[in-house]
Amino acid sequence: MTEWRLTGRYLEACNCEAICPCRRVGGRDGGRAQFQLCQFALAWTVDTGHFGEVDMAGLLAVMAGYWDEDESGVPWRVRLYVDARADAPRQAALADILLGRAGGTPARNYTAAIKEVYGVRPARIEVIHERGRQGIRVDDAVTVVARAPFMSEASVSCGIPGHDHPGEELVHEMLEVDDDPLTFEFRGRCGFAASFDYTSESSHLRQGAEH
């Protein structure tokens, strides 16, 4: 399997109220989503990275989707948007990594839950990570605008970037996804900003390398 690594910044928004009950807060594991449906938009900005010999720095990707807490196995159904500025091999690499087909950290963190991919679509993506002014925009399909950080003394982490990358809980002004069959809009719900470091290595090998 191709050796790869992506590092960068992660931003998400979902329909739970802050702090999202899925988060690990102060070392205490999260649980069920607040409502029956968890509807979300996740964004990755790759600051440095490679997929084999291919440089991946500067690329963007957004995943929109939902899961139903009452559905057996709680499967995720998602659509992935990959950076339209990238060439086809880079877009394919982004999709393979973030959908778990290339193994590694995403496969361990979250992609096992993805049971249906509505599609992978190249799109014009904007992601702003500036503190207090975070936002996501994908053509006419996804709009996320942050309102402010949600102040918390406890350390907050999310399983998607990984609990080894604690970040900051946010309150969003708006989360809007409009790309059939994903259609939802929320005001004043939660979000999360963190860094991420995804690699093709298994956690066992990484730990071995680190020690």
Binding site: R85, D140, E185
Partner: protein, 235 residues
């Protein structure tokens, strides 16, 4: 599709329809306008605004739609994209007074620049200067701002009402002016009603702002314009 999306996409479509109608008017009136060497100020402004609507609205529609969505989420009106577009057009209309002043100052000579020896040199000079501006950091900064609807929205805390929309549109118009004034200067010296030039520049502006390789394209166009200016001067 959500109601907010449907409405704002409808507004985006309305802006494009307005642009199409403006193109129709320009094409229908082109022969009459091309022959008119002296026109009244209201007629000039009418042409200028029609030309702006035709050329600029398609390029700026994505930002107007994005602004409308966020302003509506912030409690603004359902038609927040409209005052935004009005503010944008107002700023560009004001900018149109500059070529009008030049037109009056030169007593209409700009209208026949391409056919007089002096106009030939002026065309070469404007093409070269506009090309150099295309390569400047200021052009790059303005173009990056125009290419980032979300960045514009996140860095401008305007009130979501009609006045806020008007101010936001004016502010975006200022970035757009910084981006496109040199291209419009080229259009002015080639004759305001030159449909082929209008079409070429409208496509260039649309691509610069919305195509994924827009930044690179603006530089290529800049080099092309400098070379074109030299060519016009030599020939």
């Amino acid at each position: 599709m959500t109601s907010v999306s449907r409405l704002n996409r409808g507004l985006g479509g309305a802006l494009l329809a307005l642009s199409a109608a403006a193109w129709y008017l320009l094409v229908a009136q082109s022969s009459a306008m091309g022959m008119a060497m002296s026109i009244s100020i209201p007629a000039y402004l009418g042409i200028w605004v029609t030309m702006l609507a035709a050329m600029m609205l398609p390029a700026t529609a994505p930002l107007a739609v994005a602004y409308g969505r966020v302003a509506q989420a912030r409690g603004g009106g359902r038609l927040a994209a409209l005052p935004f577009s009005a503010g944008y057009m107002l700023l560009w209309t004001a900018a149109g007074l500059v070529p009008l002043a030049v037109f009056i100052w030169t007593r209409g000579a700009v209208a026949s620049m391409t056919t007089s020896p002096l106009g030939h040199l002026a065309l070469a000079g404007v093409l070269a200067l506009a090309g150099l501006y295309q390569l400047s950091p200021l052009k790059g900064a303005c173009l990056r701002a125009c290419r980032s609807p979300l960045g514009f929205i996140m860095h401008h805390n305007f009130d979501s009402g009609a006045v806020g929309g008007l101010l936001a549109g004016t502010s975006h118009g200022a970035f757009c002016l910084g981006c496109c004034w040199a291209l419009m200067a080229v259009l002015t010296v080639t004759g305001l009603m030159s449909l082929p030039w209008m079409a070429v520049l409208a496509v260039l502006i649309l691509a610069e702002k919305n195509w994924r390789r827009g930044l690179g394209l603006s530089r290529v166009a800049g080099v092309g314009m400098v070379l074109g200016g030299i060519l016009v001067a030599v020939l």
